[in-house]
Every structure is written in C-alpha cells, then in structure tokens.
Symmetry: C2
Subunit: 459 residues, 2 copies
Amino acid sequence: MNNYIEKNKQRFLDELIEFLKIPSVSADPKFDGDMQKAAEWISQKLTDAGLDKAEICETAGHPVVYAEKIVDESLPTILIYGHYDVQPADPYELWNSPPFEPVIKKTKIHPDGAIFARGACDDKGQIYMHVKAIEMMMAEGGLPCNVKVMFEGEEEVGSENLETFIKENKERLAADIILISDTSIIANDIPSVETGLRGLSYMEVEVVGPNRDLHSGVYGGAVANPANVLAKMIASLHDENGKVTVEGFYDKVIELSAEERDALEAAPFDEEEYKNDLDVNAVTGETGYTTRERAAIRPTLDVNGIWSGYVGEGSKTVLPSKANAKISMRLVPDQDWKEISELFEKHFKAIAPDTVKVKVSRHHGGQPYVTPTDSIGYMAAFKAMEEAFGKTPVPTRGGGSIPIVALFEEVLGLKSILFGFGLDSDALHSPNEHYGLFNFYKGIEAIPLFFKNFAELSK
Amino acid sequence: MNNYIEKNKQRFLDELIEFLKIPSVSADPKFDGDMQKAAEWISQKLTDAGLDKAEICETAGHPVVYAEKIVDESLPTILIYGHYDVQPADPYELWNSPPFEPVIKKTKIHPDGAIFARGACDDKGQIYMHVKAIEMMMAEGGLPCNVKVMFEGEEEVGSENLETFIKENKERLAADIILISDTSIIANDIPSVETGLRGLSYMEVEVVGPNRDLHSGVYGGAVANPANVLAKMIASLHDENGKVTVEGFYDKVIELSAEERDALEAAPFDEEEYKNDLDVNAVTGETGYTTRERAAIRPTLDVNGIWSGYVGEGSKTVLPSKANAKISMRLVPDQDWKEISELFEKHFKAIAPDTVKVKVSRHHGGQPYVTPTDSIGYMAAFKAMEEAFGKTPVPTRGGGSIPIVALFEEVLGLKSILFGFGLDSDALHSPNEHYGLFNFYKGIEAIPLFFKNFAELSK
C-alpha cells in the first residue's frame, strides 16, 4: 500500500462509514429524503477532493451528481460512472447487524476485515474508491488525465432518467473512455477484468381469477385457482433442459467459439467451494454449459418475487382472487431487452388459460455489453490490475447487468471499462452485504495506475 | 314471520351487530383478548335466553362456551354446535366497509338487506339464530327437547383442542343428535339440507435453495431458484385432466352411483349465473365431472397462499433463498385426512430436486362426513325447512369442511344435522362477507320447528 493511503486509511474508512449510514434506497419512495442527502454528501466530497463544478443535477427521478477537473484540453478525458443508490435492505431480519449501521468484521475470505452494510460493495464502497483516488492524485502531482464524474441515484431501479440526462448533456460528458467500478474480481489473489455484462429485462405479471377471494371448500375444484395457474405458467417457462421456452428467446443469442469458452474456463474455479458457500447439494441450469457459463454467457429467467393468497400466521382456507410475480431475464449479446420484453409479454399472455385474465407490465431493462480486449482502455485496466496486485489478471465475463453501459455507447459513443474490485461472495443484493477493506484500499491504489496507463497508451 | 320474531326483530339484529363488532379472529394471537371477550359475550346471551350452567371452559387454546337446559330427562336431547371465532379479515383493503363495523345493505340477492361483517354468516350470525330461537321457545311454552349448546373458538384453525374437550366431557355432552348451522342453502327460494361435507388436509411447505438471497445476475442460471422450483412442484400436483397426482390420493375415494349423481344434479343450478357472479370466462376442474360435483363430491388440491423473494414496491434483482406455500386438500368419503397428509408429505418430498431442501408441515385437517337421509334427525330437518320456507327442500352435498363433525360421531357416537341458512354467494372467508336478514330471521323461525319435529319423530 502506498504512503498516502497508509497515512489516510482510517479517515478514508470513517468517511465511507458515514456515507453508508445514509439509507439511499432508490426503489422505495419513503427513502427519497435520504437519496437527496446522499447526493449532497457525495457531491461535497467530490469538491473536497479537488474537483470543479460539482453539481446536483435534478432529473424526473433521483438526482445525478456531477463534477469534473479539466487539467489540460490536450490530455485524454476519463468519465467515471457509478451509483450512490442501493438495493432495498429487506429482509431485515436476516441481517446480523443493521444494514445502515456499518460494522467491520473479519471473515475467512476477508482476514483483514470487511465492512458490513447495504451498499458497502454495490456501489458506495466502490465509487468512494474513485473519490479518494482522485484526492490522492491531486495531492501527489496532479491528474495525468482530465476527469469527469457522474454518479447516478437510479441504477438499482433501471436508470430510468439517466438516458434523458446523458442525451441532454452530451457536450459536458464528452470523454475518451468510461471507467466503472461496480463489478467483481475472481478472488483477492486472482485479479480479473470483466470483458462483458449481461443485459436485463424485468417484468411483473398478475394472474386474475374470480373477482374475490373464495372459500376453498365451497368453490375449490370448480374454479381456476390463480396461484396454481401462475405456478403452472411459471413452470412452463423452462423446458427439461433448463432452456427458456419464451418464443424467439434465443434467436439473437451469439454462441461463443470453443476458444472463447476455453479462455473463460481457464480462470480458476472450484465448484465444490461454490456449492459449500451457498450450502446447496447440487448446481443446475441449462444443459451443455458449465456453472460459470450459465451465470455469465447464457441468458436466464428467474422469479424474483411471487405472492398470492393468505401468507400470514396459521391457516386460511381461501381460494385467492389473484396471484402476482416479478420475473426477470438476464440477456447476452445480441439479445435486445425491449424485444425480449415484448416476446415475454406475448408468450405469457399466449400460455394463459381462458379461466384467468393476465396482466403483464415492465419494470426496466438494459442491453448486454462486451468490452473489446484489444482496446486502449481495456489494456490500461489490465496493466493497472497487474501492477496493483503484482499478478497477471484473468479476463472474465460478468453475469450481472449495468443497463446504462450499452446506452453510453449508443448515446455518447464511448466504451466502458469494468474496473470492479468486489467479490461475488460479498452478498450483493443480499442480507449482510459487505466489502473487504483489502479490496477498498486496493481499488484506491489501482485507479491512479489506470489513469497513468491510459494517459501513456493514449499518446 | 311469527309474532315473537316480528316484535323482537330489531333487538335481535342489534345484538348480532354487537357480537360482530368483536374481532374474534382465532388464527392471529393479537386477537386473543377479543376471543375471550366474544366467549364471555355469547355465554351471557345463553344465560339471558334462559339456559342453565353457562360456562366458559378453558382449553389449551381458545375457550369452549357451554350451556344447557334439561327440561325432562325423558325427552330427547339436542346438542347445538357452532363457533364464535372467525376467519382473518385481510385483505382489509378489499372491504367496502370495515370488517368489524357491521353495516346493513340491500343487494340483488338480498333485497331485504344483508348485514356485512366478518363472521356475519360464518358463523356468528348462524349461531346467534340458535340463541334467539331458544329464547323464543322458552318464552312461548318451553322447549320440546332438552338442549345443550357448545360453541367453540377454534373452528377456523382446525378445532385443535375440541377433540380433547369432547373426550373429557362425554357425559356432559350426551345427546341424541347434533344440530349445526354452519352451511348454506341453494337460494332463498330453494331451501336445501346438506347430506354431507368434504374433509380437509391443510399443509404448509418450504423450499430452501441457497443459504441467502442471491444477486440474480451473478448467480442466475447456475443455481436452482426456489421460487421457480416451488412453482414447478405445485404445477406437477395436477395432471392434464385436473386430477391430483399425489400418489394414492384417490385410493379410498368412493365413487357415487349414477343415481346419487343424478339426484344431486336435480337441484337447480345456473352455470352462467355462477360464472357471472365470479366474473370468470370459464370454469375448470377434474375431467368427467360437473361444476357442482367438482365442488362437492370430488377431492381437490388448492394453493391457499404462496410467497417468496421480493414482493415490495418496484424491483429487486434477487434470487430468493426460499419459497413457501400453504396448500390444502378437500377430501371425500372414505379418504382419511391423516393418511392423505402423510401421502402429500411423502409425495412432495419425493418430487423435490436435489438442488433444494424441502420442509413439509401440517396445519390441521378433518374427515369427510355423510348424513344418512333416512335418519330421524335428517327427516326432522327436512320437515322443518319445508314448513319454514313453504317449499320442499333439496338434498345437497356441501364442499366445505367442518372437521369436527366426523369426530363427534367417532367420540360421542352422534350424527350431525347440517342445518345451515347461508348462501354460497355470501362471501364466506372473503372480503365483504355478509348474511341476509331474511336468512337470519328464517333460521330463527326454522330451528324451533326442528325441535318440534325431532321430538315428535323420536316418540
């Protein structure tokens, strides 16, 4: 660890803890005030780090925080993107410590300690690495590239208003590359750089049967039960080979070459450890693909939530009037999320029996994305990782989605570099989310190396 | 309507309203105080009606209210059974008026008005008919039979502690027949007497996958999703003919003869009206049976509740750690609810894939029941209905369950007469439950006629 980080590590951590205490949950309106508070807090820190023109830009939803430092028009410009909003913390009862009261605990994977809190890794901890890396570069000889920072507050709800924002701010956002730390590395001793992300289509369905909840004794057996019908419809969305049955779902999927697949398999992976970590006896998925392929280069369909009827204490002999589910699909190149959303809606309505009425609505989505490994940006990231970890990193494909990335390319004509430092085991989106202190400080160390390499390779 | 009822109709109604205002929900511990209150209230009314030895008998659960009047050892004794507990009222938002603030409203089916409140028909309104009928008989020349009254507080949660109570009180409960008003007639102009009831087995299942909620992007496609797995398991519980697939489920089902089926079909029924009332385009169920048969003489399996993952506002890209469901089965002679519960548990565990762990637990259950139509009790009820309505009643089979009825026969050696006055459209167990004033007063008029007929036929 370099001297500057060493000298300031406790302050960096204290500041992050302060940031994590703000429950900036974008999905739930009751946290709107905290969203504003988080935006103001991070905006102030960008100014403190030495950036100019820090601004809280209002949108139709939660604000975008922007700041920049143009040191020399002739230097390349790096646009840093990240998000200050977090996933809902529930189920709260499964957290070992309150999600918005950060605590430091050692774990087997994080012997130096990890900070436990919602957003610790996704993405507050990772965007704060950039703020501190900028502070460090400014304090030690200045920035080797111009920098622009854009932190949004709606990533966890589909970045609904960011599209308008970037379209209206093309000039201001002009840059050479976008740098994003919102992904993970394979392990703390196996650095990696992601070469792509999956897209997303998030839907909600409602199956309506009788116009009221019914007595299951008086009507049971004679009237379609929406909960049973929804279960049957969901079951039919996968075939016996684990393939999604939505008509046309795979039409645009690009199959990877044997070489590409081998390259991805080359990265270390222990399936037994994977199963032990999740406490499952067996893994499953699409026939003909490995666990890592299923979670990265193949499209999927998952129920994210389902509810119907009586779910309280004890029993209620009711035949529910309706049943609902949240269903999302992860997409790969060249699936188009809008097209898939339409195909899903069409298919789901088509398989509904005439005993029920079906409603299908969209939450949000995003396109899949691939980073060219021969680009200056990718090479700069690769080298920075190598220097920071003292090890050659492994190229990987991420299974998650950052919907906005594909849009950046479309609107701003810019490629994004996925420069993340989390671990898949950090419980993102789960109770007890955490982020290793090692990863936090390593990121602060690696970011300036990316700036240096990108400046040099751009010459 | 006879003079006594005419003179006292407003008071009878006011008293019932007072009774319905007590939220005696047995399933939810937070209403325990109200359960006690309801028991004390109805006990006082039994004393006011002229019965002796009114007592609130404590059990391991909610108390049993008992009272009796032995007018002459040589006369036959009628044991009246009913329950003062009600189903949970949620979903509250679907009630047009608060469930525990009774209001009188006219409806198409109830032009004289109906009282809207949880428990109005099931079963507070119907047990109160007995209390007022007894008051009337006592006021007008006395009881033609001895009477014993037993109102329990756990019918809606499976009468768990009533079995112990009746076993410990065989002497006290000695009688010639049991009279129960907790069922329905076909229509206000089509009186009917039920000849049987379905049994019940109420189960709860839990499907556990990964040990924590997971990020659906990082793990989706590679790990079994408990919500998808549960949907698939539930879907498999019915075959393409609507038959329940639980191994051995139909082994003990007694098929009715063509004659018996014809007799049941003889009762008036309008399927279009039935569909319109429920606002469904089509009915469905077991192939080879009519709507009424599916809801009465055939066993069924229904999901009463299902929940998993994120069910809040907006979206959460989570792969849930577990999924739960409440599943109940209606049974017909000679299915045994304990055996069926075991078969279900065995079957459900057998169909679980090795990617998940499954837990199965029982809520409660009860045996199916049939009343012999040639018994004195049934004939007395048939005649009483005929005299009260001025029309020959129709024999029917009820689809609901009163688990305790089979137990009465087993423990006390007594047959039960299902002497109910509700309508299936009264929204039992649903929001906006109601009970027609016509039905309420007609019941008070018919009960003394049963007493008279039973005394005469017993000579």
